[in-house]
Each structure stands twice: as structure tokens, then as C-alpha cells.
């Protein structure tokens, strides 16, 4: 939980990810950020996120990102 939050805060330090959701709808994360985040997640959790899972719904809040990590076989 904290790890993903810290990654998000590093990518976009100007936003308050802890107390928000709808990251994509609110424009917190753009295309560059998603690419960066996916490669950080892959690297840190030793997973390989599937292209079909890279859809807005899976990045709207920390909970859905965590689900994505678990789906890929990572442990939080």
C-alpha cells in the first residue's frame, strides 16, 4: 500500500494521492506517468503487467493498482 503511494508521489509530487482517487479522470497521471509507473511496478514487484490490463480502470486509485500487482503474482 505504502510502496505504491510512494511511487506515485515520486512520479507526481505535486498531487495528494493519499487522499484522492480517480487519478486518471482527474488528470493526475498522463501517458508518460503510466509508462513510468508500470515499469516501476514491474521492476519492484518482479511482475510483468499484461498489456490488456493497462486500461484506465486499473489505475484510478491505489486499491486498483494493488489489485493489478496481486493479479500479476506480486506480493504487497
Amino acid at each position: 500500500m505504502e510502496k505504491v503511494l510512494r511511487m506515485l508521489e515520486e512520479i507526481r509530487p505535486e498531487f495528494d494521492f493519499r487522499n484522492s482517487s480517480n487519478f486518471i479522470q482527474n488528470g493526475f497521471l498522463d501517458s508518460l506517468d503510466i509508462i513510468t509507473l508500470v515499469s516501476m511496478l514491474d521492476e519492484y514487484f518482479h511482475i510483468s503487467i499484461n498489456g490488456t490490463d493497462i486500461i484506465p480502470e486499473n489505475f484510478e486509485d491505489i486499491e486498483s493498482i494493488n489489485k493489478l500487482i496481486l493479479k500479476g503474482g506480486g506480493t504487497l
Partner: protein, 516 residues
């Protein structure tokens, strides 16, 4: 022969008045509407400024209104300057103080942002404030306004990163755009049936191809919403839904589609022409595309902003190994290249030298900057008989046995990241301007495609802290991914920061996230 780029629009609007010119999300505009709205805006700008060949800033997000503003600026017989609305205040102000625009076209939201940056209200035209044009306006316009621009007049200015921290405004002429578009239209057989899927931001000159091919050939331009580029599977579905068949994108997006193996998961693909430029396209990912979409045409384009987007091209016509470099090909029609070695002589076959370009599409120089203009646009050293300007690109290349130009790297510390041209010096200047950082070196990790900042500072600065401060100074695409703090930056025997040592030490080591 066209003498200004508006002649394309004037011809197309007669041929295809009711055809959609631009599709922007849920909205669209026909060529007739585009022409009418542009003329009306042009008339308003003209009435407000009464000036010619002066810069009209366009501070709008990518979309319909931006293109209307570009054409409006031209109809006012001035030139447009697309500005990145996401750029931080300091950069916008640096650009505005160099540019000194007569007018800035913006909308309600961005007007308030510009006001907070201290831009005077009288300089701004807000698109929502523009009333509907009066009846019979077109007749009035045609009777009273003559579009007497010539092809050496400026058409646009685009700002690029400057190594001293101050962006440079590259001034492009109508002739540059006409020259470029005539070449592209013929080379890639663009006609009214083409549907273009735009990716390039309008402040990035790759968009010149999308915008003017649409206007010149009477084909529809789809401005793909930014959000889709984060989600490759959605992107490819959108392409098919709109039947987009032509794209000119930066490689990073094509790479993303390849790396997530999207093409095998989508049933079919409407794309038939795939062009890319802005950075090196790795052959591995190109091979993926060619395997999965074998019928399409692939072309690698190359050029600095200073030569009107592109000056060489390579249409992929043979197989490449995954590690073989893709040529940048040969010069576009009516452009020429010279490769100069260290002795300022023409390099021989396979000899590496600096790529220099010449031709009608050469920029008019840097706006309000004769010093930098004279340093970069120089007399051809091989010609002592008459005045002939060339632009030294700073790119190192050689010609192979097949007479193809092969890109090798840079002479200096300019990089291409996500297609953006960035001077590492600009990032270093921004980092150095932070209170607690007193030495900084920006590097580019080619393999991981990351900007790395190594810095020296008294306090223990967190990465987020540095990033939070940097976002106020440079555009987001210049923010370093990896930030490393050292007690002391190593120096080389000349007393300069030892970039080579830093590169060897801190790159490709797979830094664990904790150290980022």
C-alpha cells in the same frame, strides 16, 4: 507554385467544403467552417494589432480552437507560436519575454493562468468572447483583405530547449512548410481518402505534417485525445473505430504498443502508413510491427526543427536484425545534406561527421537572437563563391555502402526523450537554481530511456522534494526519473564535471527503487 500555405486551405475549401477537416473528441469542424472561423479570427487580430509578420501566441490545449487560431494568425498576415499550456510559469515567461507577442489567443481557463503569470489582459483574445461572424462576412473579407504574404514570410515559431536554460524560437517560413508538404504529399501518396491520427503536441513541430497534409490534401485530421496514449489497447481500438490509416508518431508510443504485444490482441488494424521521427526507432520493436502488420508502409523520418520538421527519410524496404540500426535514409526532395568531418571537410563513405543541412526549408533563424542565429546558421565551408547557408545539426552520422545515412549520436549533450528535444544543460540550470543544490549533472540513460540527475548539496534532499521544485521550472518531460545525491561530483583533469565517469558509474546498474 504556392507562395503561402494559406493557398492550400483556400483551394481545399473550394474542393471539399463540407468534409470534416478536424475531429477532436466529440466535436468536428468542416473545411468551410475552419476557413470561415479562421478568417473571422484573423480579421479580429488584424483589427487589434494592425501589424504584419509579428508573433501571435497560441496558448490553448491541442484541438480545434488551436488550429483555427493558427490559420487565423495567418489570415491576419502574422505568424503563430504554439505554446505548451502545461509548461511552468518561469518557462512561459522566458518565452514571452523573448517573443514579445502582439496578441495571445487563449481561452477562459488559460487566460486566468496567463493573468496570474503577469501577462497584460489587453494582449489576450479569449476564444469564447469571439462573437459569431456577421452575415456576408466572407464576401466582405474577400473584397477588403488581400492575402499577400510571400513565401519568405514567417509562418510559425516553435520554441526548443536551449543549453543555457533559455528556450530558442525557431522561425519557419511559408516556403519551408510548402517545400516540406509537397515532398510528403507526393512521397506518401496522401489524398482526400487519408485519415490522419495526430499524436504530436502542436508545440512540437512533427504536428506540422499532420496539420498541413490535412489542409493540403483535403483529408481528415483526427486529434487523438492525449489520454489514449497511456493505454495502448484503447489507443489501437480508437484507431480502428475512426478508420485512421496514416500516423506520424514518436517511436516511444509505437514501442509501447510493441512491448505490450497489443497488435496480436486486436483483431485488425486500419493503419496502412506508419511514419515516425523524433528519436531513434529500435529495430526490435519495428520488427514486431512489421511482423504483425506486414502490409503497412513504414518510414523513418529525421530532421531538426531548424529545417522545417524533416530533411531525410527512409522507407523501410528490407529486413533488419533486431540490433541493426535503422537508416535515416536520404535527403527529402529539395533538401540537401553535407557531412563535415573534424577538419571541416566532406566526410568520406563510412566516415563519421556532423550532419549539416541546406535547402529552401531552412529556418529564418532564431527569433530575436542574432548571436545564436549566426552561430548555428553558417556559410557552407565548402563554398566560397556565393552566400549559402547551412545549419549544423550537432548530430553525428555516416553514409554506409548502400548510400544510406546512419545516425550515430550527438556531438553535445542534447538528447531526445519521448521525442522531445532537450538540452541537458537546461535541466542542470534548473537544478542549480534550487537553493540547496550547488552542483548538478544531468545524464541520459539510453537503455532505460531515463533522465538521471546527479547532484551535490548540503542538505539531505528527498527525491520528491527536488521533483516538486523542478516542476515549477521545466516542462514535465524534462523532470529526471532517477535522482542521485553525492557528497562531491567527480571532476575530470580539466576541472569539469566528469560526465563520462558518472555515466559509467551510475547507469544501467538497475538501481533499486529505495535509492531513487
Amino acid at each position: 507554385m504556392k507562395i503561402n500555405a494559406l493557398e492550400y486551405l483556400r483551394e481545399t475549401v473550394i474542393k471539399y467544403p463540407n468534409k470534416p477537416a478536424i475531429i477532436d473528441g466529440e466535436r468536428s469542424i468542416t473545411f468551410h467552417e475552419l476557413d470561415l472561423k479562421s478568417k473571422w479570427l484573423g480579421f479580429i487580430i488584424e483589427t487589434k494589432t494592425k501589424k504584419r509578420n509579428q508573433p501571435i501566441g497560441v496558448f490553448l490545449p491541442k484541438g480545434l480552437e488551436a488550429i483555427v487560431s493558427f490559420m487565423g494568425a495567418l489570415y491576419s498576415r502574422n505568424f503563430y507560436v504554439p505554446m505548451d499550456v502545461k509548461s511552468p510559469e518561469t518557462r512561459i515567461n522566458a518565452i514571452l519575454s523573448n517573443l514579445n507577442p502582439s496578441i495571445i489567443v487563449t481561452n477562459k481557463h488559460y487566460k486566468s493562468i496567463l493573468l496570474s503569470y503577469g501577462v497584460p489582459e489587453h494582449l489576450m483574445i479569449q476564444v469564447e468572447d469571439i462573437d459569431k461572424e456577421p452575415d456576408n462576412f466572407v464576401e466582405f473579407f474577400e473584397d477588403h483583405i488581400s492575402i499577400n504574404m510571400i513565401d519568405t514570410d514567417p509562418i510559425y515559431t516553435i520554441y526548443t530547449s536551449g543549453s543555457t536554460g533559455v528556450p530558442k524560437g525557431v522561425v519557419i517560413s511559408h516556403r519551408g512548410v510548402i517545400d516540406y508538404i509537397e515532398w510528403a504529399k507526393t512521397t506518401f501518396n496522401i489524398d482526400e481518402k487519408t485519415i490522419i491520427g495526430n499524436q504530436a503536441p502542436f508545440y512540437f513541430d512533427n504536428s506540422t505534417l499532420d496539420i498541413y497534409l490535412s489542409i493540403a490534401a483535403g483529408c481528415t485530421l483526427v486529434v487523438i485525445p492525449e489520454q489514449y496514449f497511456a493505454f495502448p489497447i484503447k489507443l489501437m481500438k480508437y484507431i480502428n473505430e475512426l478508420n485512421i490509416n496514416f500516423i506520424f508518431w514518436v517511436p516511444s508510443i509505437l514501442i509501447n504498443v510493441a512491448n505490450f504485444d497489443i497488435l496480436s490482441q486486436t483483431l485488425d488494424c486500419s493503419l496502412t502508413k506508419i511514419l515516425f521521427a523524433g528519436e531513434v526507432m529500435p529495430t526490435k520493436q519495428l520488427n514486431y510491427w512489421r511482423r504483425n502488420l506486414p502490409g503497412a508502409l513504414y518510414a523513418n523520418l529525421y530532421g531538426p526543427t531548424e529545417i522545417t520538421v524533416d530533411c531525410t527519410y527512409y522507407i523501410v524496404n528490407r529486413d533488419f536484425d533486431d540490433n541493426e540500426p535503422l537508416p535515416i535514409g536520404k535527403p527529402c526532395r529539395n533538401s540537401n545534406i553535407i557531412i563535415l568531418n573534424n577538419d571541416n571537410k566532406e566526410a568520406g563513405v563510412t566516415e563519421i561527421g556532423e550532419l549539416c543541412v541546406k535547402g529552401s526549408s531552412l529556418a529564418l533563424g532564431y527569433w530575436n537572437d542574432p548571436v545564436k542565429t549566426n552561430a548555428s546558421f553558417i556559410q557552407n565551408p565548402l563554398n566560397s563563391n556565393y552566400q549559402e547557408k547551412i545549419y549544423k545539426t550537432g548530430d553525428l552520422v555516416y553514409i554506409n555502402e548502400k548510400e544510406e545515412i546512419i545516425y550515430v549520436g550527438r556531438k553535445d549533450t542534447q538528447i531526445k526523450h519521448m521525442g522531445y528535444r532537450i538540452e541537458l544543460g537546461e535541466i542542470e540550470m534548473a537544478a542549480l537554481s534550487l537553493d540547496s543544490i550547488f552542483n548538478a549533472c544531468a545524464l541520459y540513460d539510453l537503455e532505460k530511456k531515463e533522465i538521471v540527475l546527479v547532484h551535490e548539496s548540503e542538505n539531505n534532499l528527498t527525491v520528491s522534494n527536488i521533483r516538486r521544485q523542478l516542476v515549477n521550472l521545466v516542462p514535465k518531460y524534462m523532470i529526471p526519473t532517477t535522482i542521485i545525491q553525492l557528497d562531491k561530483l567527480p571532476l575530470n583533469p580539466n576541472g569539469k564535471i566528469d560526465r563520462v565517469f558518472l555515466k559509467e558509474t551510475y547507469m544501467n546498474k538497475g538501481f533499486p527503487i529505495a535509492q531513487r
